[in-house]
Amino acid sequence: MNHLSQDELIELYYREDAPEGARHMDTCSECARKYEALQADLADMKALDPPFLPENYGEMVWNSISGQVPVHAGLRRPLFQRVLPRQSWLRQPLWIGLSVAATCALLAAAAFYAGRLWEHRNSPPPIASHPAPPARQRVVVVVLSDHLDRSERLLVQLKHANADDTQLAMPLRDEARSLLAANRKCRQEAEANGDPALTKALDHLNELLNGLANQPGGLNADAIAKLQAEMNKDGLLFEVRVLRSRIPNRQAAVHLKGGIA
């Protein structure tokens, strides 16, 4: 049989929920004897009776301390401290800080709105109202006549180019690349306007420009000679000049959205 430890006996003495110990005491004489000894010892430690206090003891205490305490100003505490329970989460420093910040933001917004309202009411009426200009749009205007002019100059250069002159290749290629995008736009406009002759001519021009700009293996002497032959065969230069002459004063323009140099 396991006997009760002194802690268990103490637990039993103070009735700290020890039902097993209590049952054990009924059957174990040794533990019962130990328990009686514990009771006797703790009986010796009975509570001290306080000494006699005079009838007016409380008044005496107050008289001795009243000079040491200031008048309270407790009701000057912030309203939220008086209203909210002490353990409320709204009284935590974080929430207090956030509340103050939110209040400041609200006041600032209200002040701003009031200022705007006041300014609106006190400003002189406008003399005339002008519609706001439309937002500027990045627009590149490609004038067909200009495009045909540049294309004509390129074709002339190509026609008279010495196929062995490698220094000419680079400028031709760059100019062709520059004209390709504008040519594509012009062709779209021509097709949209129902101008098959212009559309066909611009298609031919597109093939030549594409050959100059994106020649596989680079624009070498052979490629130049080949392109010269194609140009002459199709009479492209002539065709471009005819188109150019058809629109001497025409302000043909194509509006391009986007970046075309």
Binding site: D41, P50, P51, S66, V71, H72
Partner: protein, 193 residues
């Protein structure tokens, strides 16, 4: 742990509104229970008097933090226990300081005999209170306070833990250690008699 007067809350509101004298009514109402626990923990009247004053002054200064749903009697009782614990802790510290001073001076100073009665003298003179107090001196301040609250004030372990701001299990262990030490001390004293 004391009872709450019906008008305590109204009195506290009056004090917080600036009526300092209203606090006197609370002192009158609760000073005896505060003195009782202070006396049982400190073991002497002079210290208990000091604790009562300290507790009510501290209570007055912290009155703004008093929660309206609380019981003022319980609240001031807890403050008094803390004050008493502080006082006996300081007393132990002072004794230790004096012991160190004496040890340092041993080599050159004439030793002054301890005039306090030894256990045998106390028992022989039948001073049961002093006998008990001698046993209580074997406890640490925390053990003494916890034991007093459990054994003499009939506080539960949870109440003791709350008052001493420790875990309930720590409170229980403090009480049990106190009983062990007291029994050892008492056994020694009984053998000597």
């Amino acid at each position: 742990m004391g009872c709450m007067g019906k008008n305590d809350h109204a009195t506290i509101r009056a004090v917080l509104s600036g009526d300092k004298e209203a606090y006197g009514a609370l002192v009158v109402q609760h000073s005896r229970s505060v003195f009782r626990v202070a006396y049982r923990i400190t073991g002497n009247e002079a210290d208990a008097e000091e604790v009562v004053q300290d507790a009510f002054i501290r209570g007055y200064r912290k009155l703004e933090s008093f929660e309206s749903r609380s019981n003022f009697g319980t609240w001031i009782y807890r403050i008094a226990v803390r004050c008493a614990l502080d006082r006996i802790s300081r007393r132990v510290g002072d004794k230790n300081d004096r012991a160190i001073d004496h040890a340092e001076a041993d080599s050159e100073a004439v030793q002054i005999p301890d005039r306090a009665p030894n256990p045998e003298q106390m028992l022989l003179s039948g001073e049961i209170g002093a006998f008990r107090e001698t046993a209580m001196h074997s406890l640490t301040p925390l053990e003494r306070t916890a034991f007093t609250l459990r054994h003499m004030e009939d506080c539960s372990m949870e109440e003791i833990a709350a008052v001493l701001e420790i875990a309930p299990n720590a409170a229980k262990q403090a009480v049990y250690r106190a009983v062990h030490k007291l029994r050892q001390r008492l056994a020694l004293l009984k053998v000597r008699t």
